[in-house]
């Protein structure tokens, strides 16, 4: 947990950081000793090192935009399951999630993936929290047309219209925190995240520069989500 807390400290805004730390510390001691029930793990942790998911991903699974914690509610179960497994086995290196995923046993990882998959997208996320970049902005162009000169197709060609997500391999980008999207693109670029099928995202990310990453992350963060959750 120390590394995790340290990382939180370095990546979060001070105000959010304090609130989140307080929540995590509150959550830890109340965790049931042998928790396997998904709702219990989400709200209190499993008592064996995995803290409450809700402390970072929100009570409704909507994530925290300011801190860059992603929404989990409504995501594809197979996708979530793979990410938890990959955190645990290190192919998705992340100092916060690695120890947490490793503290969940296999059946807990499966249960949590299904739990968040079934959770409805919080109504608050139906309206984007950030302002929509202009139609002809760099972000819009990358998202909708790509950068074919560098063999980068439109993001929506795989992630679906507005980035609502497609199937088990192409997660939603719409409404995810810009900081989260940008961090993932940078992780692929640097190779710390390398759990993508056919190295699709490592390849795409390596063609993007900092400005591209910033612009495209902002565009997707500003896309509206249907409140009921259209993700498969």
């Amino acid at each position: 947990m120390n590394t995790a807390l340290h990382t939180l400290r370095t990546i979060m805004h001070p105000a959010t950081r304090h609130a989140t730390l307080a929540m995590m510390l509150l959550a830890l001691p109340t965790a049931a000793a042998f928790a396997t029930d998904a709702a219990t793990i989400a709200q209190h942790g499993n008592g064996r090192g995995a803290p409450a998911c809700a402390s970072c991903h929100g009570a409704e699974g909507g994530g925290q935009a300011a801190a860059g914690f992603p929404r989990l509610a409504g995501l594809n179960a197979a996708y979530l399951r793979k990410q938890l497994d990959d955190f645990a086995n290190g192919t998705r290196a992340n100092p916060v999630m690695q120890p947490i995923a490793a503290a969940l046993n296999e059946s807990e990882r499966k249960t949590m993936a299904e739990y968040y998959h079934r959770m409805p997208v919080p109504a608050a996320l139906s309206k984007p929290v950030t302002r929509m970049p202009a139609d002809h902005s760099l972000g819009a162009r990358l998202a909708l047309r790509g950068l074919w000169g560098k063999q980068v197709p439109a993001c929506v060609a795989c992630h679906g219209p507005h980035g609502i997500g497609v199937g088990a391999h192409f997660p939603p980008l719409a409404g995810q925190p810009a900081a989260y999207i940008a961090a993932q693109l940078n992780d692929w670029k640097q190779g710390t995240r390398h759990n993508d099928p056919l190295a699709l995202m490592q390849h795409v990310s390596s063609a993007l520069d900092e400005q591209d990453i910033h612009a495209v992350a902002a565009w997707f963060a500003a896309q509206p989500l249907a409140a009921k959750g259209t993700t498969p």
Partner: protein, 331 residues
């Protein structure tokens, strides 16, 4: 600006030497002579991306179409945009003539701009053309009509109607500054000299499919849609191109796949893998050839009498074309 005046502004560069051009900051495309492989010793990139194997680039001119931002804001530009919209959202904008789930841009990538996926600028300057497919000189309009009939499993829009006019205008605009009557580098699919090292195999193709295609195109090749929108196009079955389409020929499919699939990672498959998976894809049922004569054997003899078509042949005990997928024609 009026794109008709833009033609003068293409810079024609031969062997790295500027021969002609003018100084307007304008939208016309650019043409460059690609060095030959033999003299330069380097693989010359076509307009975009890397050179696919087997593409004959000797003396081929490299052309870059004008950027989308250069579409003029006038009545002509509106027709260009209309053509682009039909090309990228075909069902929505040409509904009555489309019988499947595909868009033109599913096979002609980057809205018909991408080299080695039969770009519109590579096609426009080659028509009218004699085609063995129907033993006639075909106009560009007739070529477009053929795509609706076969690739889109639909019916031909009238040659003098708005749909063909808009698509032609879009192709014309993309080709600004390109010389006519030549095969530009990256035109068509790179199938020249592209042959399988060994005869293609269904079993190997199935493995390639499962490893490198199914995650997008679906385990049954059915494609994937979300919220009513097609994202990954089907590769066979009722919503795919029909038995008369060019993609049903192994050489077209293998060359397209080698250069462009897996999507965004074109070029990573071996030549053998590209042929194997093309064979696997084209050995599945799809909608009937609209020229069907009533007998698979006779239809093969008249329209598919080539080793490149599996129609009317038996693969894995099944006579292809004998149980075509789904309905035929526009629905």
């Amino acid at each position: 600006m009026n794109p008709r005046t833009a033609v003068c502004c293409a810079s024609i560069v031969g062997a790295g030497l500027l021969l002609a051009g003018c100084s307007h900051p304008t939208p016309a495309g650019t043409v460059v002579a690609a060095p030959t492989r033999s003299t330069s010793g380097t693989h010359v990139a076509a307009a975009t991306g890397h050179p696919p194997p087997g593409v004959n680039q000797n003396k081929a001119l490299v052309f870059t179409p004008p950027p989308e931002s250069a579409i003029p804001d006038d009545a002509f530009g509106a027709m260009v945009r209309k053509g682009e919209a039909i090309f990228t959202h075909t069902r929505i904008n040409a509904g009555g003539f489309v019988g499947n789930d595909l868009n033109c841009s599913n096979c002609h990538l980057d809205a018909g701009r991408r080299a080695n996926s039969a770009p519109l600028w590579g096609a426009y300057v080659r028509y009218p053309m004699y085609r063995a497919k129907n033993h006639q000189v075909n106009s560009f309009a007739e070529r477009l009509q053929g795509c609706f009939r076969f690739s889109m499993n639909g019916k031909a829009p009238p040659a003098d109607g708005e749909i063909i006019k808009a698509l032609t205008t879009y192709a014309f605009w993309l080709s600004h500054g390109a010389p006519t009557g030549v095969t530009l580098a990256g035109a068509g699919f790179p199938k020249h000299g592209f042959v399988p090292p060994e005869p293609p195999s269904y079993a190997r193709g199935q493995q390639v499919f499962e490893h490198t295609c199914a995650l997008c195109h679906g385990a049954e090749g059915q494609g994937q849609r979300v919220a009513g929108t097609l994202v990954f196009p089907p590769l066979w079955g009722p919503e795919s191109f029909n038995w008369g389409a060019g993609m049903g020929n192994l050489d077209n499919a293998a060359a397209f796949i080698k250069a462009n699939m897996p999507f965004s990672r074109g070029g990573i498959l071996s030549d053998q893998a590209a042929w194997d998976v093309a064979y696997f894809m084209d050995a599945h049922e799809r909608p009937q050839d609209p020229r069907f004569t009533g007998s698979v054997a006779a239809t093969r003899k008249t329209f598919h009498d080539t080793k490149m078509s599996l129609y009317g042949t038996v693969v894995n005990g099944h006579l292809l074309g004998s149980a075509p997928a789904g309905k035929t024609g526009v629905h």
